[in-house]
């Protein structure tokens, strides 16, 4: 596997990868697979009709991981990639995705990852996705992830989605359907700066009794950046749904938070919270009495907030 230094740096950012990962993996760089490994329980098969892969995880697979990072370092590259995950009954796996774009050129680079998860009965998935942009070019770094999650009875899916730096434009669309007893936990952490724009759309349908969905977003908008958080959670059975959007605005940042709930069943318990505000003055004051400058205090507060 041959990667340039920039590609290696980006891989470290998005997947904490410093060398070839253990377990199953597929590393995609500038539109091509540059390394792939299947294991006895996890099979990675390239798609024939479109670019992307199928990831098939056998029922009962435990304590295994799949890494599928994407790196783009070629200015002007635009791609749509379709990855489907089939997670067998009772499996318990970690999936680490992530996309980093380094754009030093003047043309926009764009990666649209369309990920579908088919999670069978009682399976558990932890999905970690990091987005990162770097490079000094005037071309934009654009990421538009689409994630669809289909959860069978008693399954659990925990998603951690992080975008802290360097991505100019994002529209994130996440859709989930939950059967009885399924549990979806989404934690999003987002920071935008400069003139960036980030839009997050969630559509969650809880269709089975005892289903639980919890979508929590923590976001910071600095400079002149713009963010939108739209979350629609529908409870179509006796279930629990919760969404939370907690945001800090700085400078001339703008955040629009629209948490929406729909209860289609009298026993659906749904609630949401949304808060937007600048950093609390007393938090800054406290850290300054410990000897931090106002700027250092701000950084600490934001780092903690987005942890």
């Amino acid at each position: 596997m041959e990667l340039t230094d920039i590609q290696k740096k980006v891989l470290a950012e998005v997947a904490d990868l410093h060398k070839t990962p253990v377990g199953a993996f597929n590393i995609r760089a500038n539109g091509e697979s540059v390394g792939r490994n299947s294991t006895a329980n996890i099979e990675i098969i390239p798609k024939k009709d479109v670019s992307g892969i199928d990831i098939r995880i056998k029922p009962g697979t435990k304590n295994e991981s799949v890494h599928i990072p994407v790196v783009i370092s070629q200015s002007g590259l635009k791609e749509s990639v379709y990855n489907d995950f089939y997670i067998g009954e009772g499996a318990d796996v970690l999936i680490v995705a992530g996309c980093g774009i380094d754009n030093c050129g003047s043309q926009d680079s764009q990666h649209d990852g369309i990920h579908r998860f088919f999670i069978e009965k009682n399976a558990r998935v932890k999905y970690v996705e990091k987005h990162y942009g770097s490079g000094e070019g005037s071309g934009k770094r654009i990421l538009n992830p689409v994630t669809e999650v289909y959860m069978d009875e008693g399954s659990t899916c925990e998603m951690e989605m992080v975008q802290i730096k360097g991505v100019d434009d994002t529209v994130r669309t996440t859709k989930a359907e939950l059967k009885a007893g399924a549990k979806l936990l989404v934690g999003e952490r987002l920071m935008t700066h400069g003139d960036q724009r980030a839009i997050s759309n969630y559509n969650v349908d809880i269709n089975g009794e005892g289903g639980v969905a919890d979508v929590v977003s923590r976001a910071v908008a600095r400079d002149r950046s713009y963010q939108e958080f739209n979350a629609v959670i529908a409870g179509n059975a006796p279930c629990r749904g919760h969404s939370e959007c907690d945001s800090i605005i700085m400078d001339e940042g703008i955040i629009l938070a629209v948490p929406a709930l729909k209860a289609n069943n009298v026993d659906a318990e749904m609630f949401h919270e949304a808060a937007i505000g600048k950093i609390a003055g007393e938090q800054l004051t406290k850290l300054m009495t410990l000897g931090l400058t106002e700027q250092e205090a701000e950084e600490e507060i934001i780092n903690g907030f987005l942890r």
């Binding site: 007393e282 410990l290 600490e300 942890r307």
Partner: protein, 250 residues
């Protein structure tokens, strides 16, 4: 160590200017433990906030280690060795106990073993707390103890505690007093200023200062001041105390 000269602090309210502190003069010598006491609303916390730089006096000057710090920022004062434990500890989102202690120590990294000893000093079982977020899930007494631990970690030349005993249970009281006494012993020449209503804390003071209605009403040693304290009234304006139950609480 610290000298307040003709400090006044005024705020605007609906009746115009209101004096919270009026021409306060106070000197705190190196190595001394001063306890500030007095009725609610008397101006004690305001005085502490002015020393830490959180509030700027309307007039007057503050000298610290011989330097005029009146116009100095909170940060610079903290770096010069002033520490301040708030009456109401600040809550955060995501900042953990270990982070606060690390920042107080002024270090980039801090092992949890190091952080733990400060928590142990204030009677908290360190491993249960070190990675907890400093947020509303901590009880009032826990937050207060963490606030004190943070100030111990900072090792200030002048440590100001605003009602450190508030919310701390009786059993721990003796430990708290020991914390102050060992701070004095281990940070050479350091001064401690404690705002308190508790007789047991007043008893360890070198000097007691009574602040009432924005002025220093009394000042002296424990033996001089304690007998005068009983029966003083509160500055919080009450318009005649009502016996609610006699009037019929229904």
């Amino acid at each position: 160590m610290l000298e307040l000269k003709n400090i006044s602090f005024e705020v605007d309210d609906e009746l115009g200017q209101k004096g919270i502190l009026k021409d306060v003069n106070l000197t705190i010598d190196a190595g001394k433990l001063t306890v500030i006491t007095g009725p609610n609303g008397g101006g004690k916390s305001t005085l502490a906030r002015i020393i830490a730089g959180v509030e700027k006096p309307t007039s007057g000057k503050i000298f610290y280690k011989g330097e005029d710090i009146t116009d100095m920022s909170i940060t610079d004062r903290a770096r010069m060795g002033i520490g301040f434990a708030f009456q109401q500890p600040v809550k955060f989102k995501g900042i953990r106990v270990v982070d606060l202690i690390r920042l107080a120590k002024g270090e980039k990294t801090l092992s949890s073993k190091d952080a733990c000893k400060y928590l142990a000093a204030v009677g908290l079982c360190a491993k249960d707390y070190i990675n907890r977020e400093v947020n509303g899930s901590l009880s009032g007494g826990e937050l207060k103890r963490i606030e004190i631990a943070t100030l111990i970690a900072k090792r200030s030349d002048l440590s100001v505690f605003d009602e450190p005993e508030a919310g701390i249970d009786l059993w721990s009281f003796q430990n708290l007093i020991e914390v102050f006494e060992s701070m004095r012993k281990h940070i050479e020449g350091s001064s401690i200023m404690i705002i308190s209503h508790q007789e047991r804390i007043l008893r360890i003071a070198d000097e007691i200062v009574m602040v009432k209605d924005g002025i220093i009403a009394e000042k002296g040693t424990c033996d001089e001041i304690l007998p005068k304290l009983s029966g003083t009234d509160s500055a919080v304006k009450s318009c005649g105390i009502v016996d609610l139950w006699k009037e019929g609480n229904n």
